[in-house]
Symmetry: C2
Subunit: 202 residues, 2 copies
């Protein structure tokens, strides 16, 4: 919906800026702007400061490439983590999901993206040389590919698997199958097909 | 999902600040933060500036109460608008919707909220005295109540209708009925009931 009433310029700028957020269209952006200005000017101020602070203070961990305030992040410098395992994920959100399973105590590498030829994102853009260098530090024994099970995530895993396998590393992929707690009736056919193919003896 | 990995403080602050936006939960906030930091630092900068600018430069129009850079907004100072009609809406978004119908050339008053007793928002919080003062300027002949057709919007309309009717103004309400272009099968029963009650001779 285009506004037909003349909107004041600072409001237009704020709505435009909010639209840069992923998943926010013009209608949500307008609602957010009204909300902040009318009901939460303190929130607007907080958000402004937090943005400036994050852009200024956050960099990428020299080892895992995730966001960090320090040269090396807390996870990478934690002596309790198993340095022989390296789990490669697309985003910090994926890293958090794996961590929340409580089933992993190794280290991570965060690609901050996935191979997406249509968007011009390939091995070079994702700096696969750096991933390979990290994985071949001599301590890593096994690399777990935990990119998404989407076409792009699979492509990314394929590329990485080839490159890392060549270098004599044990490369594994998260298991595919029916999600825990789900009813088969509501699971898609592709997942069922995978689950059948990779069925295990109990 | 709570992050289990130690997140750097500037990132935590940014996620917290983004959560103040309406409709944004922790998962979306985290996705927005990653997106801005990884893929659109320029957007983060724009948003930070736009927030500061909007909070600094926007005030409320002295006549209609909507957001304005000036003492009186462009709509209220437009000599082509019919000063005998005053349409009362809850938000600037509602005002835009009415404007987009191209069916109204009068002026507006924007409540910037609605009566919501559970949230402690009553006639005083919405400054009904100011609404009444605006409507009784001597030029306004008719007040159109265009608050939402929700319980709270109806309550707001009821309060305003009483107060303005007492002062000899013609007070009207937007018509209720079946939305244009809709199939009866998909319209809720309450709307059908209203449309029946308020049926018109063709």
């Amino acid at each position: 919906m285009d506004p037909l009433l003349p909107e004041p310029e600072p409001l237009v700028s704020l709505i435009e800026a909010l639209r840069r957020l992923p998943g926010v269209g013009v209608r949500s952006a307008r609602r957010m702007a009204y909300h902040l200005l009318q009901h939460d000017p303190q929130g607007a101020d907080m958000l402004g400061r937090a943005l400036a602070g994050a852009v200024r203070d956050l960099k990428h961990c020299a080892r895992c490439n995730s966001f960090s305030e320090d040269e090396v992040c807390g996870t990478c410098s934690n002596p309790k983590r198993d340095r022989s395992l390296l789990c490669i994920v697309e985003t910090p959100a994926d890293q958090n999901m794996i961590e929340s399973s409580h089933g992993y105590r190794g280290l991570y590498y965060v690609l901050m993206g996935r191979v997406a030829p249509l968007e011009g994102i390939g091995p070079r853009e994702l700096d696969f040389d750096r991933v390979i260098k990290r994985a071949t530090d001599g301590e890593v024994q096994e690399v777990i590919l935990a990119t998404n099970f989407t076409a792009e995530g699979e492509t990314t895993a394929h590329f990485l698997g080839e490159a890392l396998g060549e270098r004599g590393l044990r490369v594994t992929r998260l298991a595919r199958g029916v999600p825990a707690g789900s009813e088969l009736e509501y699971v898609d056919a592709g997942t069922i097909a995978w689950a059948l193919m990779e069925r295990k003896i109990t």
